[in-house]
C-alpha cells in the first residue's frame, strides 16, 4: 500500500497545498461572481441606451398666485395635458416624468424606514390621524413616474411580469402599484392600501416588487435608490379628465410635466427647444422652463468608471493571488515529490513495475484534488453569493489544474525512475 506511505512525512505540506488551492478557488469564484454582478449593474443602469443628455423640464409659474390662477381653469389643465401628450408622441426625445412626495397610507404596516423624510434632516411626522382617510396614517415615501421613466431606468418587476401601463386610469376603483424591495415581508402581492393622493382618497393594489437596489436619477443623484418607495404609475394621458375633479388633475398635470427630457447624446439644445416650442404651440401651453442637467451624463460616466475601477482592482489583486499561489503550489509539490522520490527509487530497484509506481502517484494526485474539491464545496456553500456559472467555471479551472498537476507529477516519477532526474532529489 504505497498510497498511504506517500502521505507519510508530507501530510502537513499536502494539507497546506489543498488549503491554498481551495482558498485560491474561493477567491476566483468571488471574482467571477463579482464580474457578473458588475456586468449586470452596467447592463441595468449604464447601457448605451441610458447614455443620454438630460434637460430638466418644469413650469415657470413660480409665483404662487399666478400658479393658482392658472390652475383654476380646466382649459389650462387640458392645455398642459395636451402639451405632455404631444411631447410624449415625439420620437426625438423622451419625457421622463417622475415626482416624489409623501403619501399618507392608512393603517400602515411597515417600519419608520419607509417614512417620508427618514434619513434626512426632515423631522418624521410619525403615525397621525388623517381625517380624510378616517384613521391613523403614516406618510411614506412614494415616487410617481410614467412609462418612459420606468423603462429608461430599466426598472422591472422582480417577478418578471410586465406592468400594464395602458390600464392606468385614476378614475378606476384602484390603481396598481409596485413596491420597493424592502417592502417584501411587509406587504404581499394582492394587498390593498388606502392612501391620500393629492387630497383625494386613493386605493392601491400591490401588483409586484421592484428588483433589489433599483435606482434612478433623481434630484441630481444617479444613486437614488427606490427600495423604500411606493411606485405609483402615471396614466398615459389625462387630457380627458372628469370636470368634477379639476382640482386633483390640476395638481397632477403640473406634477407630470415636472420631468427630465432625455435626448441622444450630442443633440443640440436648439433641437430640444424647437421640439418643445412646437408642442407648446400645438397645445397652447407655453409656461414651461427648460434647464440643462449636465450632471446626469457626468455622473453616468463617473459611476460607471467607478464600478469598472473596482473590477480592475479586483482583477489585479486576483492575478497577484494566482501568481503567489502557483509558486507556493509548485514549491509544495516539489517538496512532496522529493520526500516521495527516495521510496519510488527504492521500490523501482526492488523490482516494482513502473506502471504500478505511476499508478500510486496518480492516486495520490487524485486524493489531493478530491480533498480540494471537498474543501471548495464546503467553503463556497458558506458564501453569501451563490451562483452556478461561477461554480461551473471554478470546477473547470480546478480540473485543468488537476490535469496539469497530474501530468507533472507523472513526469517527476518517470524521471526519478529513469535515474536521469538527479536534480529532482
Amino acid at each position: 500500500m504505497g498510497l498511504i506511505e506517500n502521505f507519510r512525512g508530507t501530510l502537513l505540506s499536502t494539507v497546506t497545498k489543498v488549503l491554498i488551492v481551495a482558498f485560491l478557488g474561493v477567491t476566483a469564484y468571488n471574482l467571477v461572481s463579482f464580474t457578473q454582478s458588475t456586468r449586470d449593474a452596467v447592463n441595468r443602469s449604464f447601457s448605451d441606451s441610458a447614455a443620454a443628455d438630460l434637460y430638466g423640464l418644469s413650469d415657470h409659474l413660480t409665483d404662487p398666485d399666478a400658479f393658482e390662477q392658472y390652475r383654476s381653469s380646466s382649459d389650462n389643465i387640458r392645455k398642459i395635458a395636451r402639451f405632455y401628450d404631444n411631447l410624449q408622441s415625439d420620437r426625438s426625445l423622451e419625457v421622463l416624468s417622475a415626482f416624489d412626495q409623501n403619501l399618507p397610507i392608512v393603517n400602515f404596516e411597515g417600519g419608520e424606514t419607509f417614512e417620508y423624510g427618514y434619513g434626512t434632516e426632515m423631522a418624521l411626522q410619525g403615525p397621525h390621524l388623517d381625517e380624510s382617510l378616517g384613521g391613523v396614517a403614516v406618510n411614506v415615501k412614494s415616487m410617481q413616474m410614467n412609462q418612459a421613466a420606468f423603462e429608461f431606468y430599466n426598472l422591472t418587476d422582480a417577478a418578471g411580469k410586465a406592468f400594464d401601463w395602458e390600464s392606468i386610469d385614476y378614475s378606476n376603483p384602484s390603481t396598481p402599484v409596485l413596491l420597493g424591495s424592502n417592502y417584501r415581508g411587509v406587504y404581499e402581492i394582492g394587498d390593498r392600501l388606502t392612501g391620500n393622493l393629492y387630497s383625494r382618497v386613493a386605493r392601491f393594489e400591490v401588483v409586484g416588487f421592484l428588483e433589489p437596489n433599483s435606482s434612478m436619477f433623481y434630484q441630481n443623484d444617479l444613486n437614488f435608490y427606490l427600495d423604500d418607495y411606493v411606485l405609483i404609475p402615471y396614466p398615459q394621458s389625462i387630457e380627458h379628465f372628469p370636470e368634477t375633479e379639476a382640482y386633483f388633475y390640476g395638481i397632477l398635470a403640473f406634477a407630470m410635466i415636472n420631468a427630465n427630457v432625455a435626448v441622444d447624446t450630442g443633440t443640440s439644445p436648439d433641437v430640444v427647444l424647437s421640439t418643445l416650442a412646437t408642442a407648446g404651440n400645438q397645445s397652447g401651453f407655453d409656461a414651461y422652463a427648460l434647464i440643462n442637467v449636465p450632471s446626469y451624463i457626468t455622473q453616468f460616466a463617473l459611476v460607471r468608471n467607478l464600478i469598472l475601477d473596482n473590477l480592475g482592482l479586483l482583477v489585479t489583486i486576483e492575478i497577484a493571488l494566482i501568481i503567489g499561489s502557483i509558486v507556493a503550489i509548485v514549491a509544495l509539490t516539489r517538496f512532496n515529490h522529493r520526500r516521495r522520490s527516495q521510496r519510488v527509487r527504492a521500490l523501482w530497484m526492488l523490482g516494482r513495475r513502473g506502471s504500478a509506481l505511476s499508478g500510486t502517484a496518480l492516486a495520490t494526485t487524485v486524493i489531493e484534488y478530491a480533498a480540494i474539491a471537498v474543501a471548495l464545496v464546503f467553503l463556497i456553500q458558506r458564501l453569501p453569493n451563490q451562483d452556478s456559472t461561477s461554480g461551473l467555471l471554478i470546477t473547470a479551472g480546478v480540473f485543468v489544474l488537476f490535469l496539469l498537476d497530474a501530468i507533472w507529477q507523472q513526469r517527476l516519477v518517470k524521471t526519478t525512475i529513469l535515474g536521469t532526474g538527479g536534480k529532482t532529489a
Partner: protein, 310 residues
C-alpha cells in the same frame, strides 16, 4: 541550504511580501473607491444631532477612529470635517490626507475654484484662507470633483445641537445611546449597492491574507527543511546548536534585506497619498517576519529534537 535553494527561498519571501503589500494597497484603494462613490461616507455612517464639541469629546473618550462631517452654510458641496483616531484614508489623487496637526486645511476636488498665491494653493471660505493639502478623487475627474472638505477652528456649529454625520467603524455603544442616532440617507451604500462588492471584497481579502500567511508558513518550513542537511553537518563537525541556529537565521535575514527594501521603496513610490508609510512598512515586513519566525522555530525543533545526531 545551498545557494540555489536560498535564492528560491528569497524569491518566496519577496513574493509573499509583494502579495501582502498588494493586499494592503488593494484594501485601502477599494475603501477609498467606496467612499468616493458615496459622497465620502462609508455604509456605516450615521446622522446625529449634537454639537461638534460634545461629539468630539465623546468619540475621543471612546477611542474610536471616526470622521465627523457637517455641511457648511451656503453650499452643500462644502463640509467641515474632524477626524479622531485613524479613519480609512479618503480618496485622493495627489497631496496628502488631513492631519491632526493641521490648524487649517482643505481637501478639494479638481473642479473647485482655488486661489494661488506665491506657490500656496488655498480655498477661501467666509474670508478665511484654508491651505489645500490634497485633491479629492482617485482620479481628477471624479464624483467628488466639486467637493470641499475643510478642517479648522470654529467651523462646527457649537452654539446649538445640529445635524452632523459620524462615520466610524466601531463607535462605542454608550456613545451611540447618548446621541440617539438616525441613519444618514447618504449612507445608503451609494455606488457600491449596484454590485456585490460589499461581500466579494471582504472574502477576497480574508482569503488573500490566509493565503499569504499559509504561503509564509510553508516558506518558513521549506527553508528550515532545506537548511537541515547543512545544520547536521555543522553539528557533526562540533558546532554548538545555538551557534548553528543563530548562524542560519542571520544568514536568512541578511538575504531577505535587499528584496524587502526594494519592495518597500517601490510600494512607497507607487502608493501615492493612499497609504501611510507605517502601514506599508508593516505590510512589507509581516510575511518576512512570519517566515523568519517559522524558520527559527522549525530549525530549532530539528536541531534540538534529533538526539540521534550526536
Amino acid at each position: 541550504m545551498n545557494a540555489r535553494s536560498l535564492l528560491f527561498i528569497v524569491l518566496l519571501v519577496t513574493l509573499f511580501s509583494i502579495l501582502s503589500v498588494a493586499l494592503g494597497l488593494y484594501d485601502q484603494t477599494q475603501r477609498a473607491l467606496s467612499l468616493e462613490g458615496n459622497n465620502l461616507y462609508s455604509s456605516r455612517s450615521i446622522s446625529v444631532s449634537t454639537t461638534g464639541a460634545e461629539l468630539e469629546s465623546l468619540l475621543a473618550r471612546s477611542g474610536t477612529s471616526a470622521r465627523i462631517f457637517q455641511e457648511l452654510p451656503g453650499d452643500t458641496s462644502v463640509r467641515t470635517v474632524i477626524e479622531t483616531g485613524h479613519p480609512d484614508p479618503l480618496p485622493l489623487h495627489s497631496g496628502r490626507q488631513l492631519q491632526a496637526g493641521d490648524v487649517r486645511a482643505a481637501l478639494v476636488g479638481a473642479d473647485v475654484k482655488v486661489n494661488q498665491d506665491q506657490g500656496v494653493t488655498t480655498y477661501e471660505f467666509q474670508g478665511i484662507l484654508y491651505p489645500v493639502v490634497g485633491y479629492l478623487g482617485l482620479h481628477a475627474n471624479s464624483l467628488v470633483s466639486r467637493t470641499v472638505l475643510l478642517q479648522g477652528p470654529g467651523l462646527f456649529d457649537d452654539t446649538a445641537a445640529s445635524r452632523m454625520i459620524v462615520d466610524g467603524s466601531n463607535i462605542d455603544d454608550a456613545v451611540l445611546e447618548r446621541l440617539e442616532p438616525a441613519p444618514a440617507a447618504a449612507a445608503g451604500g451609494g455606488t457600491d449597492r449596484r454590485t456585490n462588492i460589499d461581500f466579494v471584497s471582504p472574502v477576497l481579502l480574508r482569503f488573500g491574507w490566509i493565503l499569504t500567511v499559509l504561503g509564509a508558513i510553508a516558506t518558513g518550513l521549506l527553508a528550515a527543511s532545506q537548511s537541515r542537511r547543512l545544520n547536521v553537518v555543522l553539528f557533526q563537525l562540533g558546532a554548538r546548536r545555538l551557534h548553528i541556529l543563530i548562524r542560519s537565521v542571520v544568514r536568512l535575514l541578511l538575504w531577505m534585506t535587499l528584496p524587502l527594501l526594494l519592495i518597500f521603496g517601490t510600494a512607497t513610490v507607487l502608493s501615492g497619498p493612499m497609504q501611510s508609510t507605517g502601514a506599508l512598512l508593516l505590510n512589507t515586513l509581516a510575511p518576512a517576519t512570519l517566515i523568519a519566525g517559522v524558520f527559527t522555530v522549525a530549525s530549532a525543533w530539528l536541531l534540538w529534537k534529533r538526539h540521534s545526531w550526536g
